[in-house]
Symmetry: D2
Subunit: 145 residues, 4 copies
């Protein structure tokens, strides 16, 4: 492990946690960029995330948007702290379909107890980019186990 | 197909649509009971729906809760009409873990344009039953394609 | 003050706090019943709470629903602790109008840090009772000043 | 009335509607700037909008944020159409207090049936400006009466 960045490196930390989120692999999501307070997650539309009409399921859109905000929060947490989502709200603005979805999470306020973040989810096809969902989440810091 | 109930039969209708929701299979969800205005969906906790600590991912909890409400709404729609979620809000009350999760969706108000429903998600282990999430959703009726 | 119930009496405690909520008087709201985990607040529709069509303003419906949940939470708090709303979500199901509105708040889960509650708001005219709004709120306990 | 702008003028239209919202006057709110898709509303903290600790009541913060989004939606509606809020979600990020609150509403998506908007609420004291709340709302267009 000597060549790896330290655990304090947020990208490494987020990458390791993301790799343990079995659901992300199951629905076809991959980790994108990671920087302090900002994380993106991508999703390839397909059978594993489809609803009955072939669009991406609201639950899959929510999953990547929630994870993007959760990991954005994690980048601002001291080592040994983890985050859990306590609630979120999502508005689905347009059918989620296309070449890929990109969820962009960012932190609005990192408080002592609660952290508030938002995510936008875009559907991208070629050069076309459509906003398909907006999520606002509250997260709570917890000690890592 | 002559022995099957007609498409008007809500259980058949919901069952057929559920079978097309690839995401439900991908995350390990199965359809439970279906009656007018009420639908339950079950989820077996496992790798395909896990977050980083081994609990069920908030996105998976949301997916079954949202689908339970969506199908509860579909049971009240005339043939040829479908429903799409326009927004939902979920509060995660306790870590989602245990033998299985059960999402119970029901319709609060079926309006001309918008339908409002709620779902409770319970974690069940043996005789133990814990409320782990509450979801409220708005759905809009659309013509089926 | 010797004839008054002690501060531990939840009804007294809620009543004293409610009397300090200047907004409740300004919009014509009054405190109804108070019991552990449950509080009701009434509102008389009128100019002080009207929106542009003469219905009760969504903000007034929200104010009584939020206060009903907040006071329901307060009834479960030890003396010296207060509650603040950190977020809420409200669905407005029908035009809020009629003889009076009644917001019924109750606690779903009282946690160590966060408390989750819900309120239903009914419009009452004579014997008629219509559900006009559903609110879900998260509250956080804070030390009283 | 000959010197007044026409009803199509959005500022006039919003101003006339705002003047009929009795609640805005009751809680001390005033209309700020109006442009297509954007409206601001101000509130002077005081007894008429206070909660028990002297901060602005979450219901008052919600009322100005909801109205700011609602009027932002109205600016994009054809004459003869009005808007009603069907649901909103608000996160309260910091105690609402100071010299004045400013709610800035803007439209995220104006759809055929539903319009989605967001508002930020800032507390201003001298040169200091703190984000105290974030609201996301769904509105539905209705024929004016």
């Amino acid at each position: 492990m000597t060549d790896l960045p330290s655990d304090n490196d947020v990208a490494t930390r987020v990458g390791r946690s993301f790799a343990r989120q079995g659901m992300m692999a199951a629905i076809g999501a991959t980790l994108g960029s990671v920087s302090p307070g900002r994380v993106t997650i991508m999703l390839r539309p397909g059978a594993a995330n489809a609803q009955q009409n072939g669009f991406v399921h609201a639950g899959a859109v929510s999953a990547i948007a929630d994870s993007a905000v959760g990991y954005a929060a994690l980048t601002l947490m001291p080592p040994g702290r983890n985050v859990l989502t306590t609630e979120f709200k999502i508005n689905l603005l347009a059918p989620a379909t296309g070449g890929r979805l990109v969820a962009e999470g960012r932190i609005v306020k990192a408080g002592r107890t609660l952290t508030i973040g938002q995510a936008e989810v875009f559907a991208e096809t070629g050069d076309d980019r459509t906003l398909v969902a907006l999520l606002t989440a509250t997260l709570i810091g917890v000690d890592e186990r």
